[in-house]
């Protein structure tokens, strides 16, 4: 009995940080999965709405939280969609890592001069470029794939701005609320 009690006492402590990360990650995963159900007019072009959550978390809690939310979303999202460890997952992960890296750089180095818009556009463009390079390098080593670059970068900028507008309006409404 005593051993059992000891075991109970040794449970992992759930911190406030864990709660925040988990709830935002859940939100991002839901958006990620819903978005994957929508057909896209051009293959490879999608709005990446889940990054709105990453942006909000970045601005409210800092880049460590944002990294957790983004990576949890990619991993759990792929488990739900059944693409875990598939080429689609590799592409998704490389895109997420690239956009996280660019967000981290902007956030830590030039935060004073940039707002949501700049970070969002930079994140989505680096997401697109990383995916393109990985696709070219790992899956289709044909220069023809790079012809997609201008199209994808244009879409990346447009959706980057779009996401920033949504994130800004959410941020305005959230002011004063939440933790």
């Amino acid at each position: 009995m005593e051993a059992f009690n000891n075991h109970l006492n040794k449970q992992i402590e759930i911190t406030e940080e864990d709660r925040i990360i988990a709830s935002f990650a859940a939100l991002a995963i839901a958006i990620h999965v819903l978005e994957s159900g929508f057909p896209s007019p051009v293959p490879g072009v999608k709005p990446g709405l889940a990054n709105i959550i990453t942006l909000l978390v970045l601005f409210r809690y800092g880049w460590r939280y944002a990294a957790w939310v983004s990576l949890l979303r990619v991993t759990a999202g792929s488990l739900l969609l059944g693409t875990f460890m598939s080429p689609a997952f590799v592409l998704s992960l490389s895109g997420a890592l690239a956009s996280l890296l660019s967000m981290l750089l902007l956030w830590t180095m030039v935060r004073r001069w940039t707002g949501l818009a700049g970070i969002s556009v930079m994140a989505s463009v680096s997401h697109v470029m990383a995916q393109l390079l990985v696709a070219w390098w790992l899956f289709i080593p044909h220069p023809g794939i790079l012809v997609l670059a201008p199209v994808l970068i244009t879409a990346g900028i447009l959706f980057g701005i779009f996401n920033a507008i949504i994130a800004t309006s959410i941020e305005k409404r959230l002011k004063g609320h939440l933790v």
């Binding site: 902007l106 001069w113 940039t114 707002g115 818009a117 700049g118 556009v121 930079m122 790079l146 990346g156």
Partner: protein
């Protein structure tokens, strides 16, 4: 929008023409064409020999004409005739495909290719 946002936007916008210029194909000299029918392995023809090649695709016979280093579809059983209307092609790296008849032509350049690698 802060100043940095505009700067980032400008930088990303400049990537569009840049990536377009970088990926623009440099047309090389075509030395041969590859004709692919359905899923069968491609057959290579020299572009230097003027000839008319009749191939049988999904719908019927397509005629591919090679003339003075250029290639075109001259006859096709498909209804849209997109393949014929696309005209003559001479740049290496180009592809002409008649999707209805499942006949594809790839213009290839065999220069600078290894013909054997030893370890």
């Amino acid at each position: 929008m802060k100043n940095g946002d505009w700067l980032i936007l400008l930088f990303c916008l400049s990537l569009i023409p840049l990536s377009w210029l970088m990926t623009k194909r440099q047309p090389g000299t075509t030395t041969a064409i590859e004709i692919t029918i359905s899923d069968k392995p491609a057959v290579v023809y020299s572009i230097k020999v003027n000839q008319q090649i009749k191939v049988t695709g999904q719908l019927g016979d397509s005629v591919i004409e090679i003339l003075e280093g250029r290639v075109r579809f001259s006859e096709s059983p498909c209804s849209s005739k997109v393949c014929i209307l696309s005209g003559w092609h001479q740049d290496s790296g180009d592809h002409v495909v008649c999707l209805p008849n499942k006949v594809g032509i790839s213009l290839i350049s065999q220069q600078d290719r290894f013909d054997g690698i030893n370890f």
